[in-house]
Symmetry: C2
Subunit: 351 residues, 2 copies
């Protein structure tokens, strides 16, 4: 009985399509062993489409995306400081629009330091944790505004929205993941200053923890969490946190586990009411586009998260294990092109 | 012509008074060489006073504090998780109240990796930057609230307030500091998501930069800033950022420069309309109180910032240089008590 997966691929800009091409190559290579076929549809979205046509994410495209089992995204973004690309256009109009429209309330970001990968941290710290970042609330809702713009009396506000519904569901998801891992959950927030939102988050974690007696619960202020991330990263198993804190600490987590060149992420709708989207944490890196220097590893690891999300846990593990083996064999000084890395991993997962 | 400084000392809780005692010792030792005398008044504030009396910061005490040239604070905070000490009580009622009432709009946090100090970062990175964190706006204003508390329909909000007045003055202060240092200013924000506040911050930096043609301006999203802090900390000279981002990145900065045991800070009112307050970044560490293990270095470096703020730049440099010499001589394995470190530094600055 074979299964067919309909995958939407948004390569995006610059190195984005270069890395998704390799991730798709790996997916196509691993699928047959799991009686699965993969149908991909490419969507041309991102800075370059916007600059050429003024379109960010037409409603029609959004509707088509919805009609897929999952989405793989490379990276979107133009050249830094491009005056024709105001900050927020692509973020609000494309990335965040998809996260919000498709209710990606679990923004999943695993951090693992693999053998052979150099970390900027001294010693050889053991790092293996997952951040469950809320993806549909907080300061990311875009609420707020500006009055008296460009006058000495300008006032700009940003409003963080946190609901019982939104916090409860992501906290539950995090508890379940902790239960399936080493049984430790750390809430990261800033409850001593953001007492309103912090109260809701803390009370929710306390309440839900009653249902997970086998999970140990811990709390850290976000500022302290950044300290432990560099001094004692092995204290973390699963971290649950809000949208903005999650954004910040996962970039830091990526940095200490070998860089955003390796960091994968999933924008997950655990209820399956819309397709989930998987993407490397890195950006579109216009400076190295076309040189073959882009490392497709983060995109390939994101594809592994995608397989896992679609219930193909064994296939996911095969891709991950292969990536780890490949990483362990990389030797300083030798460089392979984007496609060479993809080919190497694809041929290994196929056999 | 001798000068007299009226210093309010808020030791606070646990190790707080232990470290301020050493900082005062050093101030008293260095003052005579600069024709200065120091009159100190101790104020008993913090978790323990609150737990004993229910008082956080009586108006009368606030008025008395105002009548000083500067404030030295140790650390306030009770035992973690004390149910009698709800989150925010001391923060909102004491620390933030003083910052807001005394208009401490420049929260100054230098980060320097001194010779001999171990960093969690591999290699021997050069780190020497200053974070100018806005201190009176942003998400720290305490605006927001909760409706339908403890129901499935609870909604909690936090509102970030940013004004032209507030942003302009701190940005100017940061430009002036950059001009007096290596001439580089980095704005850290999240302009691609927080477009309202981010717009005000970016436009302000652009506008003010016209008046400082000798300062190079750079921008980083806060998530990317955390990456550079661990991979390329030498790219920073002066960072200007909002209250919450500043809170987060300065703890990280402290971690990479040897830990919050060494990190000093100043809550500065550059206009002199109220006394500025200087404090180590670390907390009250109930677990090591009374053991003599607390390192007074951060408090002593905070005292140096205090001297500098009061126009005693030479005395400030003398204290700093002495601390650096002391740090360079510390050898792994040997331990000195809080008082021994204070004594060593005090006797050196006196001669
Ligand atoms: C591009 C931006 C909107 C996005 C975010 O802030 O979530 C990115 O930083 C990320 O972490 O996926
Ligand atoms: C204690 C807390 C209110 C404070 C802050 O968040 O500013 C502390 O973390 C700091 O950085 O001084």
């Amino acid at each position: 009985m074979s299964r067919s997966i309909r995958l939407a691929v948004i390569g995006g800009d610059y190195i984005g399509p270069e890395v998704t091409a390799e991730a798709v190559k790996v997916l196509q290579a691993v699928a047959p062993s799991y009686d699965t076929t993969l149908e991909t549809t490419d969507y041309d979205l991102g800075a370059n489409r916007y600059l050429a046509t003024g379109e960010v994410l037409p409603d029609k495209v959004l509707a088509e995306l919805r009609d897929h089992d999952a989405i793989l995204l490379g990276a979107v973004g133009g050249r830094p400081g491009d005056p024709n690309l105001p900050p927020g256009i692509l973020e609000r109009g494309l990335l965040l629009r998809i996260r919000f429209e498709f209710d990606h309330y679990v923004n999943l970001r695993p951090s693992k330091l693999f053998p052979g990968v150099p970390s900027p941290l001294a010693g050889e710290p053991e790092i293996d944790f997952v951040v469950v970042r809320e993806g549909t609330e907080g300061l990311y809702v875009g609420n707020g505004g500006v009055v008296r713009k460009d006058t000495p009396h300008e006032l700009a506000t940003e409003i963080s929205i946190n609901t019982a519904h939104g916090v409860d569901r992501v906290v539950r998801d995090a508890f379940r993941r902790a239960q399936a891992r080493r049984g430790k959950l750390t809430l990261v927030h800033k409850t001593n200053v953001l007492v309103h939102a912090g109260g809701l988050w803390s009370r929710t974690v306390d309440r839900v923890s009653q249902e997970f007696p086998d999970v140990t619960v811990d709390y850290l202020h976000v500022d302290a969490a950044t300290i432990f991330m560099v001094t004692q990263p092995d204290r973390f198993d699963v971290i649950v946190t809000d949208n903005l804190f999650g954004d910040i600490i996962t970039d830091l987590a990526a940095a200490v586990t070998g860089g955003i060149g390796l960091a994968a992420s999933g924008n997950v709708n655990p209820d399956g009411t819309a397709p989930s989207m998987f993407e490397p944490v890195h950006g579109s890196a216009p400076d190295i586009a076309g040189t073959g220097k882009a490392d497709p590893t983060a995109a390939i690891l994101s594809a592994a998260l995608l397989l896992d999300h679609l219930g193909l846990a064994d296939a996911a593990r095969r891709v991950e294990d292969t990536v780890h083996a490949d990483l362990a064999e990389r030797t300083a000084g030798t460089t392979r092109t984007t496609a060479e890395i993809g080919d190497a991993i694809a041929s290994r997962v196929a056999t």
